[in-house]
């Protein structure tokens, strides 16, 4: 195959595979496997026909049309096809050639909501979304989630089987179902982002790239559902967090606190986009959890130096968040913000109420340690640092806390904030 035809095919697939697939799955009555096979056959056909017959004017439409015909041929060959074809309301139009020629955007929504259907377990939702919406090969998804390729392949097979056999429909949820269903989609994107964000620079690139995939899908979703403020909220949150990627760890792989990060390493373009989304979101009255978290991240991103951070506003935002998500971890974050805004004494007081719930949570003790240390209460601080070190979940975190403890033990007087 000539280089330019091959390159074009690759480019079209990279940009449009998910969109083409999303429409094709609808044509195939919701059958993911049939659609993927048909698309694969169409791609093979392109490699032979495009060099000979010339590159089509609308390559994405060509692939979609060709795949559709292959899918229909395949359905006709199978005995079940007769039943399936008659079940499809729009098949008559399809056979008469009345289907639209290019993928329609609404089909992408159908695909996203189906991949994230609550009847599929969380792992299946994540895998299917990465495979069909992000277009990642199975082996890369396996590496991203640290399982074998076989395990991931099986996960995808089971997910698609459940869709087929339980009758999960290929549709966009109705208004009444939308709150729950959208929540499921946003959770999948948030989980994907967190997997990528928690991957340190030493780990495989494919894991770090999960952030980019999550952001890409969130952006897509935001364009298709402009009326949903929480989608924009999540997108803003992910952009603002991702903007700090380069500054989060130093050359040794150690953790760098937000207040100590070199802000010159923050990604300006992502911050601009994120702040823009946040400021636009202030217009809508409903304060969803992602939107509030994005607003908090925005407060950090807005200022050139850590000292200028508006901790009062952050504390108020955490209070707002607590009202809709009254969890101990969010209460902890609120306490930290209050400490920064109003002093460590106030922060410690709030922490007191959380001791029972968060005794097994490292960051709780780390906060207690820092506040106590600021107030000059060395024994309390030491004890708290020890607890935090015991509970640390990874090496960079542990090393960081050990450093703080050593620092304090070595200092003649507690360091003022």
């Amino acid at each position: 195959m000539s280089t330019s035809a091959y390159e074009l095919l690759q480019a079209v697939l990279k940009a449009d595979r998910a969109r083409i697939l999303s429409s094709l799955i609808r044509t195939c009555g919701g059958d993911f496997d049939l659609a993927e096979e048909a698309l694969h056959d169409a791609v093979v056909a392109a490699t032979t026909q495009w060099p000979r017959g010339g590159i089509p004017d609308a390559p994405d439409a060509w692939l979609l049309q060709t795949a559709r015909h292959k899918a229909i041929d395949s359905m006709r060959r199978e005995q079940r096809a007769r039943l399936k074809l008659s079940e499809l309301g729009y098949t008559a139009d399809l056979l008469r050639g009345k289907e639209e020629l290019t993928p329609i955007p609404y089909d992408m929504l159908r695909l996203i909501f189906t991949c994230c259907h609550p009847a599929l377990n969380q792992e299946a939702q994540l895998a299917l979304t990465l495979r069909t919406v992000a277009g990642l090969p199975t082996i890369e998804i396996a590496r991203a989630f640290l399982v074998s390729e076989q395990t991931m392949a099986q996960r995808l097979v089971r997910a698609k089987r459940k869709i087929r056999e339980a009758g999960i429909p290929y549709r966009v949820p109705e208004r009444t179902e939308m709150p729950e269903r959208l929540e499921a989609v946003l959770l999948v994107l948030y989980l994907l982002f967190n997997e990528g964000y928690s991957a340190s620079s030493g780990e495989q690139v494919v894991r770090q790239e999960l952030c980019a995939h999550a952001i890409h899908i969130a952006r897509l979703l935001s364009g298709l559902m402009p009326e949903e403020a929480e989608v924009r909220g999540l997108l803003a949150l992910m952009l603002l967090q991702d903007s700090r990627r380069e500054a989060r760890s130093n050359a040794r792989g150690d953790l760098v606190l937000l207040c100590d990060q070199d802000r010159a390493l923050w990604n300006r373009a992502q911050i601009e986009e994120g702040l823009g989304l946040c400021d636009a979101a202030q217009q809508s009255p409903s304060g969803g959890a992602y939107r509030i978290q994005a607003a908090i991240a925005a407060e950090h991103a807005r200022v050139a130096i850590a000292e200028n951070t508006n901790w009062n506003r952050i504390a108020r935002l955490y209070q707002e968040l607590l009202r809709i998500r009254p969890t101990p971890v969010i209460a902890l974050n609120h306490a930290v913000a209050v400490s920064m805004a109003s002093g460590a004494e106030e922060g410690l007081r709030l922490l007191g109420a959380l001791a029972d719930d968060l005794d097994g949570y490292g960051p709780f003790h780390a906060a207690r340690a820092d506040f106590s240390r600021t107030l000059g209460r060395r024994p309390e601080a030491e004890h708290a640092y020890q607890r935090a070190i015991e509970l640390a979940t990874n090496d960079p975190e542990r090393r960081f806390l050990e450093g703080r403890l050593r620092e304090m033990q070595g200092a003649a007087i507690p360091r003022a904030r």
Binding site: Q79, R80, L83, A119, E165, A166, G167, I168, P169, R171, P173, E177
Partner: protein, 116 residues
Amino acid sequence: MNYLLLIYEDEQALHARDEKTRNQVFQEYGAFTASVRDGGQFVAGDALQPTSTATSVRVRDGKTITTDGPFAETKEQLGGFYLVSAEDLDEAIALAARIPSARFGTIEVRPIWHYE
């Protein structure tokens, strides 16, 4: 597609309910069943007598083994079912969510095997 909606509920909690609540739930069941019939989705449905009336039967090596009680002791017990005809899983889930016991227990939604 046909779906079997299996109604699971904590029998003890059920029996501990006051008369007013029991009557209310009974009315709700009547209304629900009527609406499913009207919608043309009702295939079958019934309440089961409690697990204290259950008997389990197994045949092993040609021998019939009969024991008292349900096949397994569970926190919530099978108390009834509906067999419904629905377009797809979402429709079946919507029906399941309207079953009065859904807010106390769990409804398992199982597609019926269809033979080609």
